[in-house]
Amino acid sequence: MGVTVYAPDGEVGPEPATLAAGPNVLTGLRIGVLDNGKPNAGLLLKRVGEQLAARTGASLVLVTEKGPGANAATPCTQDVFEHLRTECDVVLTGSADCGSCTSWSVHDAIQLERSGTPTVVATTTRFVELARRVAAGFGVPEARVVVFPHPLGGTDDDTIIAWADGAVDEVVALLSRPA
């Protein structure tokens, strides 16, 4: 008479990701912008980057798009990723204002976090839930997300700039969060 027993080890999962350690202060650090090319994303992120630098004594050192062949609906290229990883201490990316660009912006952000670079994703009210869900799916529900009104595309420049200026405090707080 035999016995039926369970195995004790179970399935293997993907490696859990955690946020990179946020810097204590931003002074002297290098800010990068990863612009996915969505309407007004560049204007918004550059303004946030400039204001962040002015406020904290950091510098905006790199503004890049996703790379040749890449766009909002794909991850950034390996080259662009390496540039950001090596030349920047913190990154701002976006805009996450549709389903696929949200998915890939969050993906890029988490890859950067895994490489030790705190990254903030700029999303909108209509897509913040999706952004958080995708981040949670990567095992990082607490990913750094800053939320703007929807839509960004089609909004006039002055309003975009005002929204950017209003978000700087939040971005400082998100980047300074400990791991």
Partner: protein, 87 residues
């Protein structure tokens, strides 16, 4: 131990995931939840979508739907997701 699939749980899981797609004008339709066969069939509705490239990519969508169903629906099931973007 009951094998009945909780229809309410399926509807709730589908609706919550669909909510994340509605921002782009897409929707998820529950075609059937068959407790006997252990099968849940969904269809991605892109009728009102202006920008096809904007919708959450097919692989990620399927994983998100699966994760939400697994969270809410007990018992084993097979998921069939009809995504028009997949030829």
């Amino acid at each position: 131990m009951s094998n009945a699939m909780d229809e309410q749980a399926v509807v709730s899981a589908v609706d919550e995931t669909a909510e994340l797609l509605r921002g782009d004008g897409a929707d998820l339709v529950l075609v059937r939840a068959d407790a006997d066969l252990g099968c849940i069939e969904l269809r991605l509705d892109l009728t009102d979508v202006e920008c096809l490239d904007c919708v959450v990519p097919p692989d990620l969508l399927e994983q998100m739907v699966m994760a939400e169903l697994q969270r809410k629906v007990s018992g084993a099931f097979e998921l069939v997701l009809d995504d028009p973007r997949r030829v």
